[in-house]
Amino acid sequence: MSVDTTLAQASNGLVYASMVAYTVSMIGFAASFASTKGRDLTPAATAQGVAADAESGGVAVVTRTDLGGPDDGALPPGRRAANIATSVMWLATILLGAGILMRGLSVHRMPLGNMYEFSLASGFAVALTYLVISLRRDVRWLGIFVVIPVLLTLGLAVTVLYTEAAQLVPALKSYWLVIHVSAAVICAGAFSISAAASSLYLVADTGERRAAAGQPYWLAGLARRLPESTRLDGMAYRIIAFMFPLWTFAIIAGAIWAENAWGRYWGWDPKETWAFITWVAYAAYLHARATAGWKGRRAAYVALVAFATFLFNYFGVNILLPGLHSYGGV
């Protein structure tokens, strides 16, 4: 089947339009962030939640950490800008989704066949994950940390990774591939948000510690505009706990595809090896959280290492390490 170039061009136009909209959204989130006063980092203010826990039995494990809430208190001003930014982000994400759809229609297949398409889809997944969370929770403080990576991903996609719309190499023509890659893209979106939460957790936690000790902290301005560190930690954990089974599924689907294409379900190809490493790293994170009592900073480092292996599997392996998982036109 031939490639419909009109649709392919429309797709490119939509992707660029979405980038413009994301830029506007980014400015909105930045303005909101800048005009937010932020909270008091000192222990008295921060310990409030913990103290309340202690009253009710004192065991921190049962704390109901929340992704946010109307009682947030972190950002009274700047909300307007953040609300506008969120709406524009919806628009941008719809444009991007339409661009991805056009791309798929132009080549008569799922648009998940090369790094360019995978990047568009991951950017879309990250943005959508954030927006879906934002429907239920107040995560406006997180917006800027989501829009910037999405813009960077799209920028990289349209410049370095751009690949013309085309058919697939034969090995990629499999519905298991579609299942496998779709699952991986959703995981990419969610793991990115979780990693953002973990990084911000480290900032907030350091901010709180320094404030308690009366020491200065160069990121105090940032820390003040974030929710309490325990909440960030809980959010990072919850996303990973929900996504880990899906990541497991993505690997299984990949193994089924590999069995169909190459006759072995697992061959320690670099891509497979790094998927395994990511899986083990996230399993280590869950273990650390579940049983070794590694809450907090150490767990956050493990989560960030796990995310780094995920990123490396995508960029590093595709570009640096040769293997069977070569995508058409890196």
């Binding site: 004192g58 690949t163 034969p170 006759g263 907090g296």
Partner: protein
């Protein structure tokens, strides 16, 4: 008849132990007791070694250390770390040629790394040591927990703590209904919602209560997951012991019969018996490859298909089968996958008298994406022996930098560029020879020429005439059988389901306590507790509260602030 196990049986979840910097009040008794056994997480073994416990003590200490979570965590990290070199260095299993080349290019470092097993990471003893230790640790930890969990699942939920108001989810209300009626209603509602329920009658001096627990599937799922991991390991071991893998190149018009000798490469598992090869055969009738023309991805592969005539077993009716990249041939319990293709130029060699001394299609191996292919035609029946070495180019081009090369993978303008060598092919030396490589020691080059299909070349010494008749395509098939495959799939699906249960379900408890209040009302307290970070029992406590017969409701609610 109480089979309620001693609540102190299970130790504290180490996650609860306040770490130095966390300003957490010491655990209050009520909740602590109530929360026991909400998880079968293992006890963290004390890390210090026994001072003088003798051999048995050391063994016990070793076993406890090995099966501790901390060791498991370290082993998990090591396993991830250990697989990294496997993705950086070429591996013998998948790219033996690259390994040889790597070692040739960096002899000293290469040999050193080779001794460390860096080119065979996933078959190396240290990699095996890590995962075997991990799985011993896993079995040692999970099997006892399974037994413990079994007892818990069959036991009754723990009695209601005396002071329910210390629990994180707590409601207090007053009711006109009889205390026993409230308890009965609560128990009925809980049973209807599939909670495991235990009760104490309202006549009890300390007040009656209902205790209920739900979400055992969390632990069950967790145990199932870990046991399934053992299953996956078993499946992998089975596959590598009793399976085999072979690769065979077949030219159009040629046949393959499934015997070991016919494979170009064959890797059997230790326990594989050649007699297990299913006796099928097939002929490659035709092979077709299509490539992208024009655009950024010019020359990228688009479509491969091989048409085969397959005889499933001797004497059986031959069938026509089309094999494509994601659609292998399935025959006799094995699968044959289309993994590669290329061209095989057909060459005829006539001696000085015009007698045909050689005529065959010879497989040339592609060197690049445009199928610049190299190969050797060995003609042993002339004196002296003759060899033709060179290129087959499906779309021929020559330039100063690259020499003869192909510019497109399809046969738009095919040509061969051959060098003729005479001398001794060395076939009798007893050394194994590659059919794709010429050992030029003992041979002299007598000329080179380029030929289009149908053209002939009389060699400069007049000893023979070479005709390039044309070419056929060849396809390579990977034939594999992995008897552990189905088990691996089953175990991994089970693992995934167990994992989902373990991570998404939460174990939770609720209690209802009734006490006579002033003025004949019944004071009802409802409380709930969960151990999962991402869940809460608030909704369930709420729903239960609403299901109770409350006429005058002055309810106070404690829900901890959203931290």
């Amino acid at each position: 008849m109480t089979d309620r196990p001693d609540v102190d049986l299970a130790a504290e979840d180490p996650a609860d132990v306040p770490t130095g910097t966390d300003a957490v009040a010491p655990p209050a008794d009520g909740e602590d007791a109530a929360a026991r056994r909400l998880s079968t997480a293992p006890v963290e073994a004390p890390a210090d070694a026994p001072v003088s416990l003798g051999l048995l003590g050391w063994l016990r200490w070793g076993w406890r250390t090995l099966t501790s979570m901390r060791t498991a965590l370290i082993l998990l990290f090591l396993l991830a770390l250990a697989s990294v070199p496997g993705s950086i260095f070429p591996q013998r299993g998948t790219a033996p040629v690259d390994v040889t080349q790597w070692i040739q290019e960096n002899p000293a470092l290469g040999r050193f790394l080779d001794r460390l097993g860096m080119f065979d990471v996933f078959a190396s003893p240290w990699f095996a040591a890590i995962y075997l230790l991990l799985f011993v640790s896993l079995a040692g930890c999970v099997l006892p927990r399974a037994a413990q969990h079994w007892r818990i699942v069959r036991s009754r939920p723990p009695a209601a703590p005396l002071n329910l108001s210390r629990l994180p989810e707590h409601r207090r209300l007053e009711s006109d209904a009889e205390p026993q009626r409230v308890l009965d209603d609560a128990a009925q509602w809980l049973r209807a919602h599939r909670w495991r329920v235990d009760t104490e009658a309202a006549t009890d001096p300390d007040g009656g209560w209902v205790a209920a627990e739900k979400g055992y599937a969390r632990e069950t799922g967790n145990l199932v997951f870990h046991v399934a991991l053992l299953g996956i390991l078993l499946a992998v071991a089975l596959g590598s012991l009793a399976g085999f893998r072979g690769v065979v190149l077949v030219r159009e018009g040629s046949s393959f019969a499934d015997t070991r000798a016919q494979y170009d490469s064959f890797t059997p598992g230790r326990a594989f018996d050649d007699a297990d090869l299913p006796p099928f055969a097939f002929t490659l009738d035709s092979f077709d490859a299509q490539f992208q023309r024009g655009g950024q991805q010019d020359g990228a592969a688009r479509e491969f298909s091989a048409d085969l005539t397959v005889t499933p077993e001797p004497g059986a009716e031959p069938e026509k089968v089309r094999v494509e990249v994601n659609e292998p041939l399935v025959v006799g319990g094995v699968k044959a996958f289309l993994v590669g293709h290329g061209y095989a130029p057909t060459v005829t060699v006539r001696d000085a008298d015009g007698e045909i001394v050689f005529r065959d299609s010879v497989v040339f191996l592609p060197q690049d994406g445009a199928f610049t292919s190299t190969g050797v035609v060995k003609v042993p029946d002339t004196v002296p022996q003759l060899a033709l070495q060179g290129f087959f180019l499906p779309t021929a081009a020559v330039d100063d930098v690259r020499g003869p090369h192909s510019t497109f993978p399809e046969d738009d303008d095919p040509a061969v560029f051959l060098a003729a060598w005479t001398g001794d092919l060395g076939l009798d030396s007893g050394r194994p020879q590659s059919v794709y490589r010429l050992d030029t020691e003992g041979m002299t080059r007598i000329g080179i020429d380029a030929l289009r299909p149908g053209e002939s070349w009389e060699l400069p010494d007049g000893s023979a005439t070479v005709t390039f008749d044309g070419y056929v395509e060849w396809a390579s098939f990977s034939v594999a059988r992995d008897p552990g495959k189905e088990l691996a799939l089953l175990a991994s699906v089970v693992a995934m389901i167990g994992l989902a249960a373990s991570l998404l379900i939460s174990r939770r408890r609720v209690w209802v306590r009734v006490n006579p209040g002033p003025g004949g009302v019944t004071v009802v307290e409802v409380a709930g507790l969960t151990r999962s970070e991402h869940a809460s029992v608030a909704d369930e406590v709420e729903a239960l509260t609403e299901a109770l017969p409350v006429t005058t409701s002055t309810s106070t609610t404690t829900t901890p602030p959203r931290a």
